[in-house]
């Protein structure tokens, strides 16, 4: 299995980023808007998959760290006028700190109890955002997150009001590419391999001397940090931060994205977020019953393609190649 296939040698992150960077120049503002969501949710879903696919943990409260990142970044920029990049990074740090705090307890539990505790932690975060009026704005949220001015991108050949959207999209895209490349490095590193070992058989990992909990905690912190980064971008793009960013159903959304793309592939969550967001764009123009459509898709996936889209494509590819060889 050491043999690399030719697809592994393509620098996918770079190729996808360059292709995606064309979006503002060849399509309308509407698609730039969707593409921005995709970039942000690709970070969020991939960070979730660090736990789900890579480590084999099922968190039901990943939205907590997304929410914390958005609040930290948004409040720093809005209230303390902290520059964008610094606030963005601090949003991630905020997510990681809370992930360390909660993760310390969560990784002590297994299976369904782990999921339940992550859910409880997310709800605690949500309750803080919802009730701490003096700082978070409470139920109303904090709607004064400024858009960074990004003057260095003013030369872009996009006219009028589309310019600010296009500028932020490109910034978000580059940051998403950096985050995803970093996560890819992490999953392919020896550290990532150990996480895979824990996923496949935690007991054996323990036998060969791996401190399972510590590695799970590190994975939890890293995942929380990247979720926080995604949250920061989301808060800026929405020009405000609101308690429902941290609500557990937000975490369920990214779970669905990951499953849709395929949790056994690094690119699965990215594909899943792209497909789901584009589909959402199409469906909501016809009907308000998007959750119904989403639920039906999910049911169909669970019964027909539990490996997600990439899993399905891979199976098809293998089958075709098998027939060609025979």
């Amino acid at each position: 299995m050491n043999q690399q296939s030719w697809t592994d040698r393509i620098p996918w992150t770079l190729v996808i980023t360059l292709a995606a960077a064309m979006v503002p120049f060849v399509t309308s503002r509407y698609y730039v808007d969707l593409a921005t969501y995709i970039a942000i949710f690709a970070i969020f879903a991939t960070s979730l998959n660090l736990l789900l696919g890579t480590t084999g943990l099922v968190p039901f409260g990943h939205a907590a760290y997304f929410g914390i990142g958005s609040y930290v970044c948004g409040l720093l920029m809005g209230e303390l006028k902290v520059p964008f990049l610094l606030a963005f990074v601090l949003g991630g740090v905020g997510g990681a700190i809370f992930a360390a705090l909660f993760g310390f307890f969560c990784v002590r539990l297994t299976r369904v109890y782990f999921s339940m505790l992550t859910l409880a932690c997310a709800q605690i975060v949500w309750a803080i955002c919802f009730k701490w009026n003096e700082v978070t704005g409470g139920e109303q949220g904090y709607p004064r997150v400024p858009m960074p001015d990004m003057a260095f991108l003013d030369w872009l050949p996009v006219s009028g009001r589309g310019l600010i959207t296009a500028k932020f999209y490109l910034v978000a895209l580059v940051l998403a590419a950096v985050c995803i490349a970093a996560m890819r490095r992490i999953t392919k590193s020896p550290f990532g391999r150990i996480l895979n070992t824990i996923r496949d058989n935690a007991e054996r990992a323990q036998f060969i001397g791996i401190d399972v909990r510590r590695y799970q905690l590190f994975a939890f912190i890293i995942a929380g940090g990247f979720a926080g980064l995604a949250g920061g971008l989301f808060g800026i793009y929405k020009r405000g931060v609101f308690p429902d960013y941290a609500y557990w159903t937000k975490g369920a959304e990214v779970l669905i994205m990951s499953i849709l793309g395929g949790i056994n592939h690094f690119w699965g969550p990215t594909v899943g977020s792209a497909v789901l967001i584009l589909l959402n764009g199409v469906v909501v123009s016809y009907t308000e019953y998007w959750p119904f459509v989403l639920g039906s898709i999910l049911l169909f996936l669970l019964f027909a393609f539990p490996g997600g889209l990439l899993g399905g494509i891979e199976a098809l590819y293998r089958r075709l190649r098998g027939q060609a060889n025979a």
Binding site: V58, F60, R108, V112, L117, I124, F130, K131, I259, F292
Partner: protein
């Protein structure tokens, strides 16, 4: 503020509201706990079945029978039975195929049902809150030491304890109960001994759905029926079940009482932060005793 704790009328009043909340939650959470105990599935859709029960009961009262005691009673029974049948269909058609797959897929399966039922209710009954008036005979109250106890709340408390007692009888005094307890411990062995486990699971899920529908129907005179009530109630039910111990019936009863009392007395102490108390209790129990106060550790 602390002086409030010296006022017996106030304390009794809070106790009453805590007890009512607790028994309501028990009605809902008992089904959730039952499903986890026997089927080993965390059912997010339990809240959706509850919501369906509420809407169906409202529909019957509003369009067909009106809110006489008899009409309301009939509506409650019909709604609960209808939801039981929906549960039966879900188990036979879909859930059966999910027992062997990983927990992640089971959780997402029940979550998919939440999404679907949420929209189905919106589609049929709209997004405007609706409500049912208490039947005239149950609208009154009596007073104990200056505290009003509405008849309706008393009825809920009685039904709650009745169901707890009924469950205890069923689980410990009947052959059915013996089989259910066996199924919770070792499904395969039970099947090998000749019990039809597949239908047992169907029966359990139907019963749990019936209870969810029943509690949904019974809540209609107390709370408004709105979209989103499914998500809200399922979290409360999770808290209760986790505190008491997943799969333990007495644990669920204890968890409900603790939750009800903490919320109702917590409002006196920290009016703004009682929303935290519940989640912090849930997290604390999971950290210290993941299997809950009265549950047993599962391997």
């Amino acid at each position: 503020m602390l002086l409030a704790f010296l006022d017996p009328t106030l304390l009794l009043g809070q106790f009453r509201s805590g007890l009512t909340t607790a028994m309501f939650l028990f009605l809902i959470a008992s089904g959730l706990s039952l499903i986890f105990g026997v089927l080993k599935i965390i059912n997010f859709a339990h809240g959706s079945l509850y919501m369906l029960g509420a809407y169906i009961a409202w529909h019957i009262v509003h369009y067909l029978v009106g809110n006489s005691l008899l009409g309301f009673g009939a509506a409650v029974i019909v709604a609960a039975s209808a939801v039981g049948l929906i549960g039966l269909a879900i188990e036979r058609l879909l859930l059966r195929h999910m027992y062997k797959v990983e927990e992640l897929y089971q959780l997402l399966f029940t979550y998919a049902l939440v999404l679907i039922f949420g929209d189905v209710c919106k589609f049929i009954w709209g997004t405007q809150p609706v409500s049912v008036q208490r039947p005239t005979l149950l609208a009154g109250y009596f007073e104990v030491a200056g505290v009003r106890m509405p008849f309706y709340d008393l009825m809920i408390v009685v039904i709650g304890f009745g169901i707890a007692y009924g469950f205890w009888l069923m689980l410990n005094r009947t052959s059915w109960g013996r089989i259910i307890r066996a199924a919770a411990l070792d499904r395969e062995m039970l099947g090998a001994l000749g019990t039809n486990v597949s239908w047992l699971y169907t029966g359990m899920f139907t019963l749990a759905a019936f209870l969810a529908g029943l509690s949904g129907a019974l809540v209609t005179p107390i709370k408004g029926i709105v979209p989103g009530m499914d998500i809200e109630i399922i979290l409360d039910a999770f808290i209760v079940v986790v505190i008491g111990g997943l799969g333990s019936l007495w644990g669920t009863l204890l968890g409900s009482l603790i939750y009800g009392m903490v919320v109702s007395f917590g409002i006196l102490l920290f009016p703004r932060f009682s929303i935290f108390a519940a989640f912090i209790m849930m997290a604390a129990v999971l950290i210290v005793r993941p299997w809950g106060l009265l549950g047993r550790p599962v391997k």
